[in-house]
């Protein structure tokens, strides 16, 4: 698993007590990764900002429901993911996303190691990421942005761990194959 920030000491308990400064620290830590995640799924700046705002407001209201403070990041991404699904439903894009998912094969072998992208390939990498079916893009973004485990991604997206694993393998294999092309 990719380690993003090691064992972070985040002021989740203080935020639960309603301390604004604690929330500010949490928001600063997660606002850009959450925005990147949401934007890469929705491709709309204003809608993405709205989703980030709704996610953070929902977090301040429902923090009491979070049982394990160490899982704050996954919990927050879970809220953002649900907001994206709501946005997709508004735009009737869920059906299209599910069709794309059904068309994707389920089991793949994938080599170990972190994916690294050369500077000259970055634009191509983003284009390839955009071309992935939304469910595959979602799990890959969660894997890349925060290094969530398969179980955590399964919790965030509501998919079963086997499906998440195959989606990650499928997406990474597709990216590697395309990046290796001349």
């Amino acid at each position: 698993m990719l380690v993003v920030a090691g064992q972070e000491q985040l002021p989740v308990a203080e935020a639960r007590d309603g301390k604004g400064e604690a929330w500010l620290i949490l928001f600063r830590r997660y606002r850009l990764p959450i925005y990147a995640y949401v934007f890469e799924l929705l491709h709309d700046e204003q809608a993405s900002l709205d989703v980030v705002q709704e996610t953070f407001v929902a977090a301040t209201r429902h923090i009491a429901a979070l049982r394990d403070d160490d899982k704050f990041g996954g919990w927050l991404f879970g809220i953002a993911h649900q907001k994206c699904l709501q946005q997709w439903r508004k735009e009737n894009r869920e059906a299209a996303a599910m069709e794309l998912l059904a068309a994707a094969p389920e089991e793949f072998d994938d080599g170990p190691g972190e994916l690294l992208v050369r500077r000259e390939q970055e634009a191509r990498f983003m284009k390839l990421l955009d071309q992935l079916p939304p469910p595959h893009r979602a799990v890959l973004l969660l894997h890349f942005l925060e290094g969530f485990s398969i179980e955590e991604i399964a919790e965030i997206t509501g998919a079963n761990p086997g499906t998440v694993k195959s989606r990650i393998h499928y997406a990474k294999k597709s990216l590697r194959k395309l990046l290796e092309e001349p």
Binding site: F27, L32, E45, S48, V52, Q53, L116, M126, L141, G147
Partner: protein
């Protein structure tokens, strides 16, 4: 060579000022509502006592000047109003 995380965060770095404003706004409302929910000091405590014991009595109503709004008493007007954190949200699309 950069990791996908580095590429993704760099791609959206320009959104930082908007995200900063957005998060500060949420925290400001959060602090505001927390302050409004708990009486801050003797002033608000006195206002509450005044409201409870005096303003709603017939004698109190007679002693107080009439306000344009018949439903408003001086006691109620003296109480701090809770800022509506949802007011800003209502400007944005509501959840389905």
């Amino acid at each position: 060579m950069r990791t996908p995380r580095e590429i993704l965060l760099a791609r959206h770095h320009a959104a930082e000022p908007k995200l900063d404003a957005l998060t500060r706004d949420i925290v400001k409302h959060l602090d505001g509502s927390a302050r409004a929910e708990t009486p801050a000091g003797p002033g608000s405590l006195l206002a509450r006592i005044f409201h409870d014991l005096f303003a709603n009595t017939t004698c109190g109503r007679a002693a107080l000047p009439r306000r344009p709004d018949a439903n408003t008493t001086c006691g109620r007007a003296a109480l701090p109003r809770r800022p509506d954190i949802r007011a800003k949200q209502q400007l944005r699309p509501t959840e389905s």
